[in-house]
C-alpha cells in the first residue's frame, strides 16, 4: 500500500518531479559526456599527441571539478526531493505508518529516481556526445579522431559514480526523515531560518571570504610560480571565499536594510526583506553554486577559445607555408590546387655529410625565418632575414640565421657551409633545389596544402626531421591538441551552463 501511495505521490507532483528528474538526467548526461572524453584513451592519444603531464592534469582537474559540481548539484536536488515529500510522509506517519517503513520508502524513492535519471541521462549523453562532437567538428573545423558517443568505460564510470552518490543521498534522506519529529515534517515549509546575529563572527567571515577570494585570484595570476598547484589552491580558496562572501554579505545587507526603518517600511519593502530573510540560507547556497557554475562555464569556454588563438600562434612558428624538395608530376599536379602568393627558394648540394649553399642566392632571394622571444610570459614571433655572414660563424644555438637555415634543410646537423656561387657551381654533386612557398587560404585549403607538402618531401631518411618541422605538420598537430582542449572547453562550458538552467 505504501508503495502505491508513494507512486501516486510522485504522480501528483509530476511537474516538480519532472524538473528534478530532468536536472538529474542532465547531470548524468553531462557527466557521461565528460567521461567519454576523459576515459577514451584512444581518442586522447590520437587527438592529443603530446600526452604530457599538463593534459593529464587538465583532465584530472576536469574530472574532480565535475564530480564536485555534480555532487553539490545532487545534494541540492536531493534536499529538494526530501522537502517535497516531507509533508506527505509526515501525514503517513501521523496516520500510523512506521518510521522504518517511511525510511525505506524515501530510500528506495531517492535511489529509484536517481538511477532512472542516470540511465536516461546516459542515453541522452550518448546521443548528445555524438551530436555535439559532430557539430563542434563541423563548426570549429576541428579534427577529432576516434571520438564516439557510445563508450563503455565512460558508461560504467558514470553508472558507478551516480549509483554511489545516490546511495549516499538515499541514506542521507532516510536518516533525515527518521530523525526528524513528525510535527516538524508536517510544518516543514513554515519554518523560517533564524538569522544568527553575531556581528563579529559575520565580519570575520566577510573578511575571510574576501581574503580567500583575493588570494585565490592572486594565485591564479602567479601561475608561473605555483605551477600545477595553482589550480588546487585557487579552486579551494575561491569556492570557500565565494560562499563566505555571499553568506556574510547577504546577511549583513539584509540586517542593515531591516534596521533602517525609513527604508524598511517604504511600500512593499518590509515584505520583500521578510521573504529574503526567510529563505536566506537557501539563497546563499544557490548564489554560491550559481556564481561558481558561471565561473566554470565561462572559464571553460575561455580556455576553449584561447586554444583557437594558440593554433593561430602556431602558424607563426614557420615563415614559409610549404617547402618542396622535389619536382615530381605529383607535386605539379597538387600545385594546381593551391594558390601560391609568393615563391622563392635556393639550391643546395650535399657532399658526404656536408651541405653547401650559395651565399649569393641566399642574399638575393632574401630567405626569411621565424624567431621567437618570451615577452611577459607570452611567446612572440618575429621574422628575420637569414644573413650569410652570420652563417659563417656556424655556432648553435644562438645563431638565429643558422637556426633558420637548418630548418629549411633536410639534414638536422650543423654541417652547413656557405660558399660563393662560383665555388658552389664547381662542386661536383647533385644540385638540389628547395622551393619555398607562401600560399593563400592556408587554413581553409589545409588538406590540399598537406598533400602538396607530402608530395614535396622525398621518402628518404635524411628528410625525416623535416617531416615534423614543416608548417603543415606542426599546424595539424597543434591544431589537434588545441582541438582537444577547445572541444573540452566548449563541451564543459555548455555542460556547466546547462546545469545552471
Amino acid at each position: 500500500m505504501l508503495w502505491k501511495l508513494s507512486m501516486t505521490g510522485i504522480k501528483s507532483r509530476f511537474k516538480d518531479y519532472l524538473v528534478l528528474f530532468s536536472g538529474l538526467t542532465l547531470a548524468g548526461a553531462i557527466f557521461y559526456m565528460f567521461m567519454t572524453l576523459a576515459t577514451n584513451g584512444d581518442f586522447l592519444n590520437d587527438s592529443l599527441p603530446v600526452t604530457s603531464q599538463t593534459i593529464r592534469l587538465a583532465f584530472g582537474i576536469g574530472i574532480v571539478l565535475l564530480i564536485l559540481i555534480t555532487f553539490i548539484y545532487i545534494v541540492y536536488a536531493n534536499s529538494f526531493l526530501l522537502s517535497m515529500r516531507k509533508k506527505d510522509y509526515g501525514m503517513y506517519m501521523i496516520l500510523g505508518a512506521r518510521t522504518s517503513k517511511i525510511g525505506k520508502l524515501i530510500f528506495v524513492e531517492t535511489l529509484l529516481v536517481g538511477l532512472l535519471a542516470t540511465l536516461v541521462g546516459i542515453l541522452i549523453g550518448i546521443v548528445l556526445a555524438q551530436w555535439v562532437s559532430s557539430v563542434l567538428v563541423s563548426q570549429l573545423g576541428l579534427t577529432l579522431h576516434k571520438f564516439i558517443g557510445f563508450y563503455l568505460p565512460a558508461l560504467l564510470w558514470t553508472l558507478v559514480f551516480f549509483t554511489l552518490i545516490f546511495f549516499l543521498a538515499a541514506f542521507w534522506n532516510r536518516r533525515r526523515l527518521v530523525k526528524s519529529k513528525v510535527i516538524d515534517l508536517l510544518h516543514e515549509d513554515q519554518k523560517p531560518i533564524r538569522l544568527h546575529h553575531h556581528p563579529v563572527l559575520k565580519n570575520i567571515e566577510a573578511l575571510a571570504g574576501i581574503v580567500l577570494m583575493a588570494g585565490g585570484y592572486w594565485v591564479m595570476t602567479q601561475a608561473m610560480v605555483f605551477k600545477a598547484n595553482t589550480i588546487w589552491i585557487a579552486f579551494l580558496t575561491i569556492v570557500i571565499g565565494t560562499f563566505f562572501v555571499f553568506d556574510a554579505l547577504f546577511t549583513g545587507v539584509i540586517n542593515i536594510l531591516s534596521k533602517n526603518r525609513h527604508f524598511k517600511y517604504h511600500k512593499l519593502r518590509s515584505f520583500t526583506i521578510g521573504q529574503l530573510k526567510f529563505r536566506l540560507g537557501d539563497y546563499t547556497r544557490i548564489l554560491t553554486v550559481i556564481s561558481l557554475l558561471f565561473a566554470l562555464a565561462l572559464g571553460a569556454i575561455t580556455v576553449g577559445l584561447d586554444f583557437v588563438h594558440v593554433t593561430d600562434i602556431s602558424l607563426q612558428a614557420n615563415y614559409y607555408d610549404v617547402q618542396l624538395y622535389q619536382d615530381t608530376p605529383a607535386v605539379r599536379k597538387q600545385l594546381k590546387k593551391v594558390s601560391v602568393r609568393e615563391q622563392t627558394g635556393f639550391d643546395y648540394k650535399q657532399v658526404k655529410n656536408k651541405i653547401y649553399v650559395s651565399k649569393e642566392q641566399l642574399l638575393n632571394n632574401q630567405i626569411k625565418s621565424q624567431e621567437f622571444r618570451i615577452k611577459n610570459g607570452q611567446t612572440e614571433y618575429y621574422t628575420i632575414t637569414i644573413k650569410p655572414e652570420e652563417l659563417v660563424k656556424n655556432k648553435l644555438p644562438d645563431n638565429a640565421s643558422l637556426n633558420g637555415l637548418l630548418a629549411l634543410l633536410p639534414m638536422g646537423d650543423n654541417d652547413v657551409k656557405v660558399i660563393n656561387q662560383d665555388k658552389f657551381n664547381q662542386l661536383k654533386a647533385q644540385n638540389n633545389h628547395v622551393s619555398l612557398l607562401l600560399v593563400n587560404n592556408f587554413k581553409q585549403n589545409i588538406k590540399n596544402i598537406e598533400s602538396l607538402q607530402r608530395a614535396g618531401l622525398p621518402n628518404k631518411p635524411s628528410y625525416e626531421l623535416l617531416r615534423t618541422g614543416v608548417k603543415v605538420r606542426q599546424f595539424i598537430e597543434i591544431n589537434a591538441i588545441a582541438a582537444g582542449f577547445e572541444f573540452m572547453g566548449f563541451f564543459l562550458g555548455i555542460a556547466f551552463l546547462a546545469m545552471l538552467a
Binding site: 500500500m1 501528483s12 496516520l95
Partner: protein
C-alpha cells in the same frame, strides 16, 4: 468509568540547557474518561497546542507521563509509537491535511491500509463511517472537488475509521464557515453520544467549546479553571464559557 487518557504532571521546556529556555507546560495533570467530550481552551501561546502534540505522540514531554488506553506513550519506541498512532489515535486538523492525490475513499482508508488491514474489511469500514458522517456520495471524488465542510468530514472519517481510543481535534472548525462548523460539531456530538467516541478538542472558539461536556482552561502552561456542562443546555454552557473568558 475508566480513563482513556491520563496526563500526569507533564512539563515541556523548549531551548537547550544553558541557553535561553522557555517553559511551555509547567506541570499539567488531568484525565479524560471513556466517552467524554473534553474541550481545551486557552489564549494563543498558553501551551494548548504543545499539550495536544504531546498527548498525540507527536512530541515528547520534558517530564511527566501520558497514559492512553492503559499504555504510557512517553515510553514507546519508534515503531511502537507508529503502530500506536495507527491504532489508538485519530486526528482532525484545522487545515484538514488530506492527501490531494488520493480520492476521499482512499484518504479515509489510509490508516487501515497502513496497518495492513484486509481489503474487504477496509471497504466495509470505510462505507460504515462514511455513512455515519453523511459523506457516502462523495467518496469517489478528490479532496479538491469538495467543500471545506465536506473535507473536514472526510478528515473526521479518516480519523475514526480504525476505531481509535481517542479522537483529537486541533481547532477542527477553525477553517470552516459557521454553518459547516455547526454541522461538524453536531456530528461530533452525535458520535460522542451514540458511539461513545472519546473526543479531546483544542479550540479558542467558545461556540465550538460549548459542544464539549467539560472544558479545561489553560493559562501560562498550567490548567487554570475547569467548567462542566452537566445538565445545562448548550446555550447556557456557551454563556458560561463567555463569562469565564470575560473574567480573565
Amino acid at each position: 468509568m475508566t480513563d482513556v487518557v491520563k496526563v500526569i504532571n507533564v512539563t515541556k521546556t523548549y531551548g537547550k540547557k544553558g541557553e535561553k529556555q522557555y517553559q511551555a507546560l509547567k506541570g499539567i495533570s488531568f484525565d479524560v474518561e471513556r466517552g467524554e467530550f473534553v474541550g481545551i481552551m486557552g489564549a494563543s501561546g498558553s501551551g494548548k497546542t504543545t499539550l495536544l502534540n504531546i498527548m498525540s505522540t507527536l512530541d515528547r514531554p520534558t517530564s511527566g507521563n501520558v497514559v492512553i488506553n492503559g499504555r504510557d506513550i512517553t515510553k514507546l519506541k519508534n515503531n511502537e509509537m507508529s503502530d500506536f498512532r495507527g491504532q489508538e489515535i485519530g486526528f482532525v486538523f484545522q487545515d484538514f491535511n488530506l492527501l490531494e492525490n488520493l480520492t476521499n475513499r482512499e484518504n479515509i482508508a489510509l490508516p487501515l491500509a497502513l496497518q495492513n488491514a484486509k481489503p474487504d474489511q477496509v471497504e466495509a469500514k470505510v462505507n460504515l463511517i462514511a455513512k455515519k458522517l453523511g459523506i457516502g456520495s462523495i467518496l469517489e471524488k478528490y479532496p479538491a472537488e469538495i467543500s471545506g465542510g465536506q473535507k473536514q468530514r472526510v478528515a473526521a472519517a479518516r480519523a475514526l475509521v480504525h476505531n481509535p481510543a481517542i479522537l483529537y481535534g486541533d481547532e477542527p472548525t477553525g477553517a470552516l464557515d459557521s454553518k459547516s462548523a455547526t454541522e461538524l460539531l453536531e456530528t461530533m456530538k452525535d458520535l460522542n453520544r451514540k458511539d461513545k467516541v472519546s473526543i479531546l478538542m483544542v479550540t479558542h472558539d467558545p461556540f465550538s467549546a460549548s459542544y464539549a461536556s467539560r472544558i479545561l482552561f489553560i493559562k501560562d502552561g498550567k490548567i487554570g479553571k475547569e467548567l462542566k456542562r452537566d445538565s445545562k443546555s448548550r446555550e447556557e454552557f456557551y454563556q458560561e464559557i463567555i463569562a469565564e473568558l470575560g473574567r480573565r
